[in-house]
Amino acid sequence: MEKKTVLYDCHTALNARIVPFAGFLMPVQYTDILEEHMAVREKAGLFDVSHMGEIMLEGEDAVKNLNHLLTNDYTVMKTGKVRYSPMCYENGGVVDDLLVYKMGETKYLIVVNASNKDKDYEWMKQNVSGNVTLKDISDEVAQVALQGPLSDRVMEKLTDLDTLPKKYYSFKENVDVGGICCLVSQTGYTGEFGYEIYCPAEKGVQLWNMLMEAGKDVGLLPCGLGARDTLRLEAAMPLYGHEMDETITPLETGLGFAVKMDKEEFIGKKAMEEKGEPEITRVGLKVTGRGIIREHMDVLKDGKLIGHTTSGTFLPYLKGAYAMALIDKSFAETGTPLTVLVRGRETACEVTELPFYKRGE
């Protein structure tokens, strides 16, 4: 039996098409994926992301535990900042990728993928030590993402813009958004300017409705998981279960920036050291022939298998077919012509730089 987020009735009232995802009944689209995608690129879009998991880590040994559990380094970090990290198994494979919010010297909020939340929480519990507590607060929190260049025009109707986080990957607590006390971070999964807003679950519907109303005259659209996926792919943001999983190390999927091998110790470090320099890497592919390439398709060079696609579709803003792929790194140079096997036929494509889309370009 799938769970519903607190916003479920808002979605059905908007005639969303509902699908099961990560144990929740979620809106995949309200009107049209292309339209919703373009709203985020050009105006603003509102997403229900209440299915995401939230875990509190608190205690004197919090930093020590973060540095043990996660590949990124949390030793030097200011309160009010957000930092991305993969979390790995001993073998270097990825348990999940997540965001850590530093709320105080001994208090951290960890935001994880909905599909991995229970697994993550168990893994963390097994691997923390010392003076620290873990608490899964997912059911107490509603989360929405307001994304798009006009996000501030929506927010200014509900809050004093001076109270919002000014830098990417920073956040503010106790922000009054239309009378609701929220945590607001300048983060997102679309490659666009915007905010992720957390509030008590019981205030979620009120927050959603206020944002929808405030966004009316700037063209804000409610956006489903369909657009969320095309937006993150256009921005080349990796997704667990696609660009990474328990068989792939973060180094192999191009997340080396968040793996601090110079840290004294973290789970998975030893395995990654033993594996040495990765033989595969994550690349972007642009279709130069005809057709659309999707996930789990073979990538060939002169008929020889060199890897597979991890995500791919038609990208609405760029108006073309693109994919990300994990391939033998000797073929990863930009411009390299490759083919992808689409239902038995080879589709021509070439290696192209990531991200496909970058804000302001």
Binding site: V28, D32, I33, L34, G226, T230, I292, F314, P316
Partner: protein
């Protein structure tokens, strides 16, 4: 959902129109609505053989690829090449955006009337 009375239909959501001894075919309004915005069509080729009820071309939305089934057995005689660069026409005008013209082999078999098809869609939508 439109189901023009003069057309015939398949249970797999294609429409067929007899036109001077040959047939035009495309996908129905219900089909395009269910599939969402179409971004690519892999058209058949002139001369392709079609077997009733079997896939002979496909359309793709952002989310998925979907087969289009042959409404009758026969041979493709003409393809609507306009759709190649404008697959969105299948969404905008499903009964105007024909995919191909074909010559049928033998008798018309197993097609649904507009009324029967509309009833089927209603059932599926529940």
């Amino acid at each position: 959902m439109k189901t023009p009375a003069e057309l015939k239909y398949t249970a797999t959501h294609e429409w067929v129109k007899e036109d001077n001894g040959t047939y035009l075919m495309g996908i129905t309004d219900y089909a395009q609505d269910q599939l969402g915005s179409l971004v690519y069509i892999n058209l058949p080729m002139e001369g392709d053989a079609m077997t009733a009820g079997e896939a002979f071309c496909d359309v793709e939305s952002v989310k998925a690829v979907s087969d289009i089934m042959a409404p009758l057995s026969g041979t493709v005689t003409e393809v609507n090449g306009e759709l190649e660069d404008a697959p969105q026409k299948l969404n905008e005008d499903p009964y105007g955006a024909w995919i191909c013209r074909f010559e049928a082999e033998g008798e018309e078999e197993g097609l649904l009337s507009a009324e029967e098809y509309a009833a089927l869609c209603e059932k599926e939508a529940k």
